[in-house]
Amino acid sequence: MIYLNHAASSFPKPEPVISAVEAALRSPPEGEGRGGELASASSRCRAALAALFAVRDPGHVILTASATHALNLAIHGVLAGRPGGHAVTSLLEHNSLLRPLAHAARDRGLCTTWLEPDPEGRISPEAVASALRRETRIVALAHVSNVTGSVQPIEEIAAVAADAGVPLVVDAAQSAGAVELAHGALPGRGFVALAGHKGLLGPTGTGALIVPDASLPPLLTGGTGVRSESELQPEELPLRLEAGTANGPGLAGLAAALELVLARGVATLGARRAELLGELRRELAAVEGVELVAPLPHDRRGGLVCLRHARHAPEELAYLLRASFEIVTRAGLHCAPRAHAWLGSAPRGSVRVSVGASTTEAEVSALCAALRRLA
């Protein structure tokens, strides 16, 4: 099988990740209290994520079930307390960011400005600056679009948001593990949400939110294993934002994955993605019947491209590739309906091809060879 669906989840997982998950499942889940292997896996994840994202205090790395969980924690937390206000986001966002904003609009009267990207899918800091209002309470953007693959200039956007005193929520689901981002160097109040199972190579059911301070209210309250005498959630991080028994096997796998990513280096992994995407683009350009849904961005570390075929609808094409050629891609709207509407590919969407740490040039060529046979 040729797996070109890394933007959904990385596959195959590295052997040390599989071994770590298996070992965790075969071990007693907890020592006395909540110590033992689980605490060790959590600490290793926090330490590794702090190193990857230049976080000053590993306690500011909140372990979550997914990037979606992290985004809900950040967005609902930033907007908590008073109704109304204004948000700045873009047309490229995933539903994990769109829907929390939409619920805040419906339930609390939040007003949203949807920024239109430039033809390469880039949101300029100037566009963010001009959208800001006195009542703006949040800027929320993906670092890398899961439809165009475009990489946003998050550091410059963070400076704009910081100048206005507005918190910035970054959806780093697609960028984590491929595009470097130093949380510690972001000016202002930056929140970074990430998934553990995509570019970070860990198991599904893992993610994190990096927070600048302890100001967010908890989304979930419950057991923490310590301060049990308190009726309310403890105030200090990370306990304030983590409740309930953690995903021990998932965190054990994530810790192993993060250590691999640290060893290989995000810059190296990102450069490899960009190289493969360049190769894919060169080959696709010569395939009759294939049309790219968005121009390939100048910065190719996003590692993905969306395409349509003259003779096959997206979901038909994805099935054909999988069933006959054993090539796995992803069809549909990719949970980013506004992005596809902007690109003109709604309502059927497109076929997304995404490369990852395990992808080879031969696999990219095999996809293009398969597409040539469909002309």
């Binding site: 979901e315 038909e316 099935y319 054909l320 069933a323 006959s324 050629f325 054993e326 992803r330 069809a331 549909g332 709207l333 990719h334 949970c335 309906p337 309502p347 059927r348 969407g349 046979r373």
Partner: protein, 103 residues
Amino acid sequence: MRVTSRRKLEDCFDRVAAYELELDEELAERPMRSLARGDALDFHPDFPRPYFRIERRRAWLLQGVLGNRTIRVTLMGEDHEQQLAELRSLIEQSEGERQWQRS
């Protein structure tokens, strides 16, 4: 040939009602052609796994590969249950390979 089970596909097929139908035998060329009778057949025996596509206008699209025990169906109409029942009946009336070998 019988349909032994059906499974709705929920994996990011936006605005598309798609099902996977499981058959009681591997699909061979003869029953596939029988299934396509009167409809538009697109057959690629030269693909790594022989691929077919059968389209009944405004009703359904069947996709599969020979040798598999499953067929993917995309429904285009409104009443999915009725369409699935009609399709099931069509598949079960089509001449399965085992049936053909017996006759």
